[in-house]
């Protein structure tokens, strides 16, 4: 990799304890950026044309959220959204594992969409009341978009889960594939607790009961069981990732890194 000039500076953002807000914005921004990149992988490959369009639209919403959040995170350190998206290495990304998981078949993607959008909606509904004006603005806008994403995922989860034996089996596999990573969604740490105490961030631990009730309700209606699997794999917020993120970043970053001196795109 030829991460030249901004690579080190951009990496510092994740490690700078002084910039709590920047670090928090970076987490939410990385979640949105990585999932946008994943969903974009469905373009021209979805089971039907309408889903090509739907997943691309959802990816675009997430990319828009990511751009504002990365721009904000970078503003504390004199870095641009592009510096942060293209010139950080894997260990400096602080997204959740769930969003970096491979797309799998359509049912795996729908399972991931269901689990993540249900989480993201609860998060942004609360973050819309943040004492930080920019975070509140991003969240208030995202709530409307993510409500739609969740609705899309719920409809498909019901249709596949309560569909044929084949679609049911695939949807069950999809939920089971994603389940080990859901514990991380609600993991709290000193950074979010400090920011939550200041009224800036949402402590994700608080979202767990409502999320569990909502997802459990959807799965029951879709005739799917809540997986009896441990959900303890974590580390994304500390830059420790699954093997899949590196490949995703290679695809996302290689063009920009091949032309590091290009001024604008």
């Amino acid at each position: 990799m030829t991460g030249t000039r901004p690579a080190t500076a951009a990496g510092d953002v994740a490690r700078d304890v002084a910039g709590d807000v920047a670090a928090y914005a970076l987490r939410l921004g990385d979640d949105a950026l990585v999932l946008a990149q994943r969903l974009a992988g469905w373009v021209s490959r979805a089971p039907e044309l309408e889903e090509d369009v739907a997943l691309a639209n959802i990816a675009l919403d997430l990319l828009g959220q990511a751009r504002t959040l990365l721009t904000y995170a970078g503003s504390f350190h004199g870095l641009s959204e592009d510096d942060l998206a293209y010139f950080r290495d894997e260990r400096d990304f602080v997204n959740l594992h769930l969003v970096e998981l491979p797309n799998g078949d359509f049912a795996v993607t729908i399972a991931r969409q269901l689990l993540f959008s249900a989480y993201q909606l609860l998060l942004h509904e609360r973050l819309a009341g943040s004492a930080d004006e920019t975070l509140a603005g991003v969240a208030a806008k995202a709530v409307k978009e993510v409500a739609y994403h969740r609705d899309h995922a719920v409809r498909w989860a019901l249709r596949l889960g309560d569909g044929t034996a084949e679609s049911h089996a695939r949807m069950r596999t999809g939920v089971e594939r994603c389940w080990p990573y859901v514990g991380e969604l609600f993991e709290s740490d000193p950074l979010v607790r400090r920011l939550a105490a200041a009224g800036v961030a949402v402590d994700p631990a608080e979202l767990c009961p409502q999320w569990t009730a909502f997802v459990g309700g959807v799965l029951a209606e879709a005739t799917l069981a809540v997986p009896d699997l441990p959900a303890r794999i974590t580390g994304g917020r500390r830059g420790v990732h699954t093997e899949h993120l590196g490949y995703l970043l290679a695809e996302l970053q290689h063009l920009r890194r091949s032309h590091p001196e290009a001024a604008t795109w």
Partner: protein, 163 residues
């Protein structure tokens, strides 16, 4: 420089900028244009807001605003993007709704509910007026559209979603 052109004239020039994706509508019709003002230094500040977070038309709209003001002789322009308050289809003007219908796009039905609960109302076919329509896909050609079909005249059409 600005004194030669009144604020009203500047506003009119900016308000007439068409939306790049739905050129039948202006950015004022859409509610994307939030303000045209002079700052203390006599610089023109135009405030716009995106329909959706990822709206890819924002850069084109910004460039078109600069061009529109240039045509009335104003060069010192700053385009400000804001997210709050979040854009809503409630801001679509009456003329905007009419133009959409004439274009064959069903305008948003009703106003935005106060919670994030999604409510589906009947959508009237912009071609034959029938309420016997069916949603084919929650997403369509742009982020703000859903794809519908009329069961009466059998034509597909876009519906500008309540947002």
């Amino acid at each position: 420089m600005v004194t030669a052109v009144g604020v009203e004239q500047m506003r009119a020039a900016v308000a007439a900028v068409p939306d790049p994706e739905l050129p039948v509508l202006t950015i004022e019709d859409l509610g994307v244009l939030r303000g045209v003002e002079l700052d203390g230094a006599g610089r023109v500040v135009v405030t716009i807001t995106p329909t959706y977070s990822g709206c890819p038309a924002m850069a084109a709209i910004e460039a078109d605003i600069v061009t529109a003001l240039d045509r009335v002789g104003i060069r010192d322009v700053s385009v400000r993007k804001v997210l709050s308050p979040p854009w809503t289809t409630d801001w679509l003007s009456e003329s905007g709704r009419r133009k959409l219908a004439e274009l064959g796009v069903a305008p948003p039905t009703g106003v935005v509910p106060s919670t994030s609960t999604l409510v589906a109302l009947s959508v009237r076919c912009p071609r034959c007026g029938s309420l016997r329509t069916r949603e084919l896909s929650r997403f369509s050609s742009t982020a703000c559209m859903a794809l519908y079909r009329c069961e009466e005249c059998l034509e597909p059409f876009d519906h500008f979603k309540v947002h």
